[in-house]
């Protein structure tokens, strides 16, 4: 089996079709577990009260919003170096979910910020760079849709995402580099925090739920993209299965 076997859309299409229901089921199971822990097991935060429960979705959404952009950048490097069409298709398949996660991270952060900080929005380094991330997702999608020649669109999109992925470490380290209003973690996954085990498990379950959900969505979407781009191809006729 060649290393590039699954980089062909024709072989990946049925594989993605087999894989996505698994990821979707795992995502659902994790989300139900995570939400149960978040609302019925995890205690009320001694400082923030009940509103801290927003963090069980805010943190996973923000982490995955950043992570998906990095994965897109990796696919971008593969697209430019190996010239694999599937890499570009995967970038396109991941972008809408990444954009949704980032938008929801901003929305939930805003609703958490009002009662906690007294403001829906502040222009601090982390929040501003996360807003920039949302614009980058939207900009990438607009760019690849604006260029008619798919090959050129893929190259331009890959280049944009690779170069602008520098924004992701900026978001991540912003709370250390600058004196931001946005705090570091309230609930730490790595221990040494005052968080109860239930808090940690809830956050972990929700993070992996978002992760597996994003994979499921990307797999379904890449199948649609393959079908759209390769329509008329003989292997797709009569099912492609």
């Amino acid at each position: 089996m060649s290393l590039f076997k699954y980089s062909s859309p024709a072989t990946f299409y049925p594989l993605a079709g087999k894989m996505w229901p698994w990821f979707a089921s795992i995502a659902l199971a994790l989300a139900l577990t995570g939400l149960y822990l978040a609302f019925f097991v995890a205690p009320t935060d001694f400082q923030q009260g009940e509103v801290y429960r927003i963090l069980y979705i805010h943190v996973p959404l923000a982490i995955m919003g950043m992570f998906i952009y990095l994965i897109m950048a990796v696919y971008g490097v593969m697209a430019l170096t190996f010239n694999t069409r599937l890499s570009s298709m995967m970038m396109e398949a991941l972008a809408p979910t990444g954009a949704l996660f980032t938008a929801l991270a901003l929305w939930t952060g805003s609703l958490w910020g009002r009662p906690t900080w007294g403001a829906y929005w502040v222009w601090d380094a982390r929040i501003t760079s996360t807003l920039l991330l949302l614009f980058l997702y939207v900009g990438y999608m607009a760019l690849i849709n604006a260029i008619d020649d798919k090959k050129r669109a893929d190259k331009a999109g890959a280049l944009l995402v690779i170069v602008s992925s520098i924004n992701v470490p900026i978001i991540y380290f912003s709370v250390k580099w600058w004196n931001t209003l946005h705090q570091g973690s309230s609930i730490s996954l790595t221990g040494n925090s005052i968080a109860s085990p239930a808090m940690r498990w809830a956050l972990l379950a929700m993070t992996f739920a978002c992760w597996t959900y994003a994979i499921a969505m990307a797999l379904v979407r890449v199948r649609a993209i393959i079908a759209e781009r390769e329509h008329g191809a003989a292997w797709l006729k009569g099912g492609g299965k």
Partner: protein, 50 residues
Amino acid sequence: MDWADFFYMGGRGFYVWGSFGAFALGIVAEILLLRLRARRATSVNGENKK
């Protein structure tokens, strides 16, 4: 805990349910839009036979 307390969320219901509601809405919207896109894409190729 009774359900009224649960929805009241210590007086922060608006923020908590505004967050989780938007989250649910976003996920459902993405799934529906993607289903539509997948159906359209495959029907062109004659896959929707089953």
